[in-house]
């Protein structure tokens, strides 16, 4: 597989999988305002997916479209990080995951605005505006809930404990990353770790939440080596229409 195609799938699949998970809240969020906020966030992410996967399909040059990539690939062809596919569980975990992701996306997309690939720079500049807005809300909500009642604090702490071991996957490095770095298409993800950590630590500190000492990181999503059992279930729901009625449109 071409490294650039692989790189674009990683961007598109992160946005797609989190976008789909977030959309699962539509109509069932704990408050009307949150329901609307989650649906809007999901919409932004699905829009970004169209841009990333649209470019991926073009780079691949195999006649597939963004829709084909989204609806007709199976688990092992997905390249999202594992954190984004684990189930929503509760509102606390959903918000915590959004925050941990947004805190990475903002410096990452900022750096991609300088990409030697103009198309990537354009998608990054467009997505960054939305990511900044998402981070504002997710950080604010993490603090409000973490620094809220005993119950909300406990639930945010347990969300953080579950998600923290998944955050390390953002910063792994393989041949795809090295190729992108050499071609000045993208920085090495690990170079953004200090900025990500500083945002995360200061926000979690304000939220009265403690980060575990463990440095263990789940991995396998961004390379496609090993996904969690949850992605297959998610795709079954997300792809059922195109799988049952191939080519259906409206």
């Amino acid at each position: 597989m071409k490294p650039l195609f692989e790189f674009l799938l990683r961007q598109g699949d992160n946005a797609l999988v989190l976008g789909h998970r977030t959309s699962e809240w539509c109509g069932t969020a704990p408050a009307l305002e949150e329901d609307i906020a989650l649906a809007n966030t999901a919409l932004d992410l699905i829009g970004q997916t169209q841009l990333w996967l649209g470019y991926a399909a073009e780079v691949e040059g195999a006649g597939r479209s963004a829709d084909d990539l989204a609806y007709l690939r199976d688990v092992y062809d997905f390249r999202n990080i594992l954190m984004l596919e684990v189930p929503n569980e509760d509102f606390g975990r959903t918000v915590m995951r959004q925050f941990l992701f947004d805190a990475f996306q903002v410096p990452w997309l900022t750096a991609l605005c300088e990409s030697a690939d103009e198309h990537i720079a354009a998608i990054a500049a467009k997505s960054l505006k939305e990511a900044l807005y998402h981070l504002e809300r997710s950080a604010e909500t993490v603090v409000a809930l973490g620094d809220g009642t005993d119950d909300s604090n406990k639930r945010m702490q347990s969300a953080l404990d579950v998600l923290w071991p998944y955050t390390g996957e953002h910063f792994l490095q393989d041949d795809v990353d090295n190729t992108m770095f050499k071609a000045k298409i993208a920085p090495l993800p690990v170079s953004l770790k200090p900025e990500w950590e500083s945002t995360v630590r200061s926000t979690l500190n304000d939220a009265n939440l403690k980060i575990t000492d463990s440095t263990f990181a789940h991995s396998g999503g961004r390379t496609g080596f090993r996904h969690t059992e949850h992605l297959g279930h998610m795709l079954a729901t997300m792809q059922v229409l195109q799988r049952s009625y191939p080519g259906a449109t409206w």
């Binding site: 809007n40 966030t41 500049a125 467009k126 939305e130 807005y133």
Partner: protein, 156 residues
Amino acid sequence: MVDESQLKESQVWAWLESVPDPEIPVISVVDLGVVREVTVNADKVTVTITPTYSGCPAMSVIATDIEAELKKQGVTSLELNTKIAPPWTTDWLSEKGRALLEEYGIAPPRAAGTPEHCPLCKSGSVEKVSQFGSTPCKAQWRCLDCLEPFDYFKCI
């Protein structure tokens, strides 16, 4: 019907001024700043638009509406392009568009990131209800004097 060989770009812009935004029909797609370029040459009219938010569902409606309006005006050969760079910004909302939004009850965007005042009673005493609203481009606020909720057009 128009004589396409004599068509001027300013005429196309004028026609587009009458295409309303599907979600906020009080302003046109030109006032919203999504029409980035219009070129007319011998064989076709080219219109370039840019999305407000990457996932905004109104964009496909906007494209269809632009096509329908220009067809109605007699344009037979139209090329409609989308470009995302530079990304859309609320700075591209026209002054007329801002005034129309306010009149309609939507507080126009401000660089400060907050509405200037309640679009209904003009009180400056307002608070944010939610960062998101009924469409991707708006947030929910409320007035602490007249107590009415209102939309604020997000500044990006």
